[in-house]
């Protein structure tokens, strides 16, 4: 995936999150996480990403 590819996903996500509205965003992101995990089909890798995403949240 090129940086440009990533950017298209990034934009699509931003637009989708705005379209959804604040009270459903959390649910949407959790669903998306499950879907992506299912796609990568690698529990070990997915669990390390679950941990990675938790870093630096307090900054």
């Amino acid at each position: 995936m090129t940086p440009a590819d990533l950017e298209t996903v990034y934009e699509a996500l931003a637009e989708q999150l705005d379209a959804i509205g604040p009270d459903r965003r959390e649910l949407y992101l959790a669903k998306l996480a499950l879907l992506l995990v299912h796609e990568i089909a690698d529990a070990g890798r997915a669990r390390s990403l679950v941990a990675d995403a938790a870093s630096n949240l307090e900054i």
């Binding site: 959390e26 649910l27 959790a30 669903k31 996480a33 499950l34 879907l35 299912h38």
Partner: protein
């Protein structure tokens, strides 16, 4: 609880018997070998299992009849095997409803249909639904045929004192209070065990958040015996509902109470009626129905640290309380009863060393802890305890509407019998046996000559071999040899080659197995299995 105007045992479909206290009283203070406190399903099963080994026992129960209400209704395959071995399974099979399938719904839409493991190799279905009164009735019918069991109703165990080699019980019945000595005591006196209290022992563990009302109704509802789970239904937003079919047109409806919903209010008859009516509307039933019985429970995982205290063994609910999602409360208790009964009988008959009894706690408490793990998983899905669990649960359910894989997270995966892998009386694999059931597991079933492998097992230990020579060289041992064909279905299930062997215990668990067996190895494993572990 029952509707206003009906007594505790005034059922729509079941006639409770009435039992008097002992009228013949001359022998009451005579010492007994094995006393059993509590004639619930677990105490009765223990008495039958001891009798099958030729050991007499005396059963004491405080009540004058069976337990009220239908309580535990799901009996698992392995429990039917236990009942089969006790010669008591027939009435159960005739009355109960076998089932294999479950359906889960989210906001009224089906998100999962699951099948529990079943095949023509199995003699019994994975699960049967039967009201607990019938379970107790059928066990009692078997006990009445059994001269080795004496039952004393309306006889409460109220005191207990250690003796040099046994226990002295104080018994209170309507006529008198007397003392009776026993060599061994099985405490099957239920969740509020008197004996546990008298010994100063406490159950330890966790209490979960969710509280459920369980209600039984009688109605002509046309739906097969399929377990239904309704997540987040219209009639109870945020809650979970379970629906089970039972014999006699009785339906079990379990529904979760909302946080902060008042318990006293929730179990008032009119509240229960309104809640049940809403569930029935949800499942599309609009006919007549009668309310039979209801109760409330919360999901606890509690157990004793040690199921043995000197000459006292705790079996069933006196030793452990498990959440009902795993349907293990009763099933676990029946396995406890069967486990301690053969061990105690073999020690009393001098066929096993006293250390055999020390394998009871690791095996059965291990099984309880395993249930706790599974049940905690189910409980967290059914009643998410925190915001994180709630969000992921809701995400899984919501996603499952479009992606079936997510619905699998709602699969309760009930019931696989526990493997006694760490038991002191189970011999671990030594020769790199690949495939097949592991040592300590329950022997899987297979069709053999138009019957089932389970039917060929002896009353004591059995040795399954695939060539007659090995059996011939072990002819002096106290076991039932079973020579099966290489290449047969059984050989396939057991991943056996012609030199393989399985040593199977009286409770159908595998004591040891060999890819290529020698007589010496079989002797050593049997020795270990009856002596109670190497010192």
């Amino acid at each position: 609880m029952r509707p206003a105007g009906r007594a505790e045992t005034d059922s729509l479909y079941f006639t409770y018997p009435h039992f008097d206290p002992p009228s013949n009283r001359a022998h009451l203070t005579r010492p007994v070998r094995v006393a059993i406190a509590g004639a619930g399903p677990v105490g009765m099963t223990a008495a039958l299992a001891l009798a099958q080994e030729g050991i007499a026992s005396v059963l004491f129960d405080a009540k004058a009849t069976f337990n009220d209400g239908s309580r535990a209704i799901c009996i698992a395959r392995q429990s039917y095997h236990i009942l089969d071995r006790l010669g008591a399974v027939k009435p159960f099979l005739e009355k109960s409803l076998g089932w294999t399938r479950g359906r889960s719904f989210y906001r009224g839409r089906k998100i999962l249909e699951f099948e529990m493991p079943d095949s023509p190799r199995e003699k019994y279905r994975p699960m049967y639904n039967l009201e607990q009164q019938y379970i107790e009735q059928y066990l009692w019918d078997a006990i009445e045929q059994e001269p080795l069991i004496e039952t004393r109703w309306q006889s409460r165990v109220s005191g207990l004192e250690d003796l040099e080699e046994g226990v002295r019980l104080t018994i209170q019945d309507p006529v008198d209070t007397y003392q009776v000595d026993c060599d061994w005591l099985l405490a099957a006196d239920g969740a509020r065990s008197t004996i546990r209290g008298l010994r100063g022992l406490r159950l330890k563990g966790e209490n979960f958040e969710g509280r459920y009302v369980i209600a039984d109704v009688q109605m002509e509802h046309d739906y097969p015996t399929i377990r239904r789970a309704l997540f987040d239904p219209d009639c109870r937003r945020g809650g979970t509902i379970l629906v089970h079919k039972q014999p006699d047109n009785i339906w079990r409806i379990d529904y979760q109470l909302r946080d902060g919903e008042d318990e006293a209010e929730a179990i008032r008859e009119d509240t229960v009626r309104a809640s049940v009516a809403a569930v029935l509307t949800e499942i599309g039933y609009d006919g007549d129905w009668d309310l039979e019985w209801w109760s409330i429970y919360s999901a606890n995982t509690l157990a004793l640290d040690d199921y043995r205290d000197g000459r006292v063994f705790f079996i069933g609910d006196s030793a452990h309380i498990v959440p009902i999602f795993g349907v293990r409360g009763l099933n676990n208790g029946l396995a406890d009863a069967h486990n301690i009964a053969w061990k105690l009988a073999w020690v009393l008959k001098g066929k096993a060393g006293p250390r055999l009894l020390d394998s009871y706690t690791p095996e059965r408490r291990g099984a309880t802890l395993d249930v706790f793990q599974n049940a905690s998983k189910s409980a967290r899905f059914m009643t998410p305890p925190t915001a994180g669990w709630q969000l992921m649960r809701d995400a899984a359910l919501n996603l499952s509407l479009s992606h079936p894989f997510a619905g699998e997270l709602a699969n309760p995966r009930q019931m696989t019998p526990y493997t006694y892998a760490d038991s002191p009386i189970v011999t671990p694999d030594e020769d790199g046996f690949e495939g097949g059931p592991k040592p300590g597991a329950v022997l899987p079933n297979a069709r053999v000559n138009g019957g089932f492998l389970s039917d060929l097992l002896g009353d004591g230990f059995s040795l399954i071999v695939f060539s007659p020579e090995l059996a011939d060289r072990l002819a002096d041992l106290d076991l039932t040899p079973l020579v099966l064909q290489p290449g047969s279905e059984a050989a396939d299930v057991l991943a056996a080659s012609p030199g393989s062997a399985y040593l199977v215990r009286p409770d159908m668990h595998i004591a040891a197995r060999w890819q290529s067996a020698s007589p010496e190895a079989v002797r050593a494993a049997l020795e270990l299995a009856v002596a109670g572990g190497k010192t």
